[in-house]
């Protein structure tokens, strides 16, 4: 903070009058492609998992040398999506247990294409869960026909990440078929395990460890400024 203040002291700094402030706000919103300022609820904390992860990406991006080609530097827009719906299958009626997640990709910037997407879910330790057990975590994209498409298996300790680039592209091309993801946890013997009891944090878990999806976009063409 003190470094920032020192840096900013070299700049022209005077308080804007209300007209100047309105014009400045209008101009910046236009650059951001927004018709009005977003109004997120104050209760939504910046310490939540997605904002913290995105702030880390922002800092990495800001410290990157210009001209260095990397995965991150190629992205024009990166969006994190909160989990809209999470359903846990009733274990009483079904043998198989899973968690279902949904992400709304309809608000993506126009004219941008997906270069990568990740589904991030946190795993914590659960004291009541037996140790020394290898678990297989599998993620399926839910299709209308309920036919599984992409499967990833990951052995993770605290943070688990699934590459769902193809899935998010499908959702982008066919928003009607966005029926979410289904996550299964199984033992090596094929036995079904409740994802919650295995330590996978869901929508009702601690804010700092809730699952989310991150999508990287690249502008397919030069952005066009809104005509005013």
């Amino acid at each position: 903070g003190s470094l920032m203040n020192q840096h900013h002291s070299n700049f022209i700094h005077r308080r804007l009058n209300s007209r100047e402030r309105r014009e400045m706000q209008k101009e910046i919103l236009s650059i951001l492609g927004l018709s009005r300022r977003p109004r997120p609820l104050l209760s939504f904390k910046r310490s939540a998992s997605a904002p913290v992860f995105m702030l880390d990406l922002y800092r990495t991006m800001a410290s990157e040398e210009t001209g260095r080609e990397s995965f991150l530097s190629q992205a024009d827009t990166i969006m994190s999506f909160v989990n809209g719906v999470e359903q846990t299958e009733d274990t009483f009626h079904h043998k198989t247990q899973w968690k279902e997640f949904k992400f709304d990709l309809t608000r993506i910037p126009r004219g941008e294409m997906v270069t990568a997407a990740e589904f991030r879910i946190y795993k914590t330790s659960n004291e009541s869960f037996p140790g020394n057990l290898t678990l297989h975590v599998t993620v399926y994209q839910v299709l209308q026909e309920f036919h599984d498409r992409s499967v990833s298996k990951v052995l993770g300790r605290t943070l688990t990440l699934f590459d769902i680039t193809a899935t998010s592209n499908d959702w982008l091309m066919n928003p009607h078929y966005n029926l979410g993801l289904r996550l299964f946890v199984e033992t090596e013997g094929g036995g079904s395990v409740d994802p919650g009891s295995a330590g996978l944090v869901g929508r009702r878990g601690p804010r700092t460890k809730r699952p989310f999806m991150v999508t990287f976009f690249r502008a397919s063409q030069a952005p066009v400024r809104t005509i005013r």
Binding site: N10, F11, M24, R37, P38, A75, M79, F81
Partner: protein, 137 residues
Amino acid sequence: AANRRKGRKKYGERPSCERLPGTFAGYNGREQTQVCKRHDLYVSFRELDWQDWIIAPEGYEAFYCDGDCSFPLGSHMNASNHAIVQALVHLMKPDAVPKPCCAPTKLSATSVLYFDDKYNVILKKYRNMVAKSCGCQ
């Protein structure tokens, strides 16, 4: 100096890249003669009352280019070859050909991180957005 003032008045009357409408009014005589260079303006998101939805940065370093591109174009003006020719032709035909523009010569990217209404977080990168250096073009 008298001739320069006369010439300046003529340029104020027709569209030119030297002065954009609105930027001319606030200048005093001394500032008008300054050479083309980068100026700094800090836009604070705190002052705009946008802290609830813009996560980072705290403000925006909005550099802009301004100043005179008069003959002879010194090395400090970071002039392009075209600007030198433009300045010479302007000397020959001051009423027909405008002076070179004072414009960014090198631009860099900047990013902004913000919430939308649905609590999604958006990180937008704007390439070629921040003026790193200015020069006569």
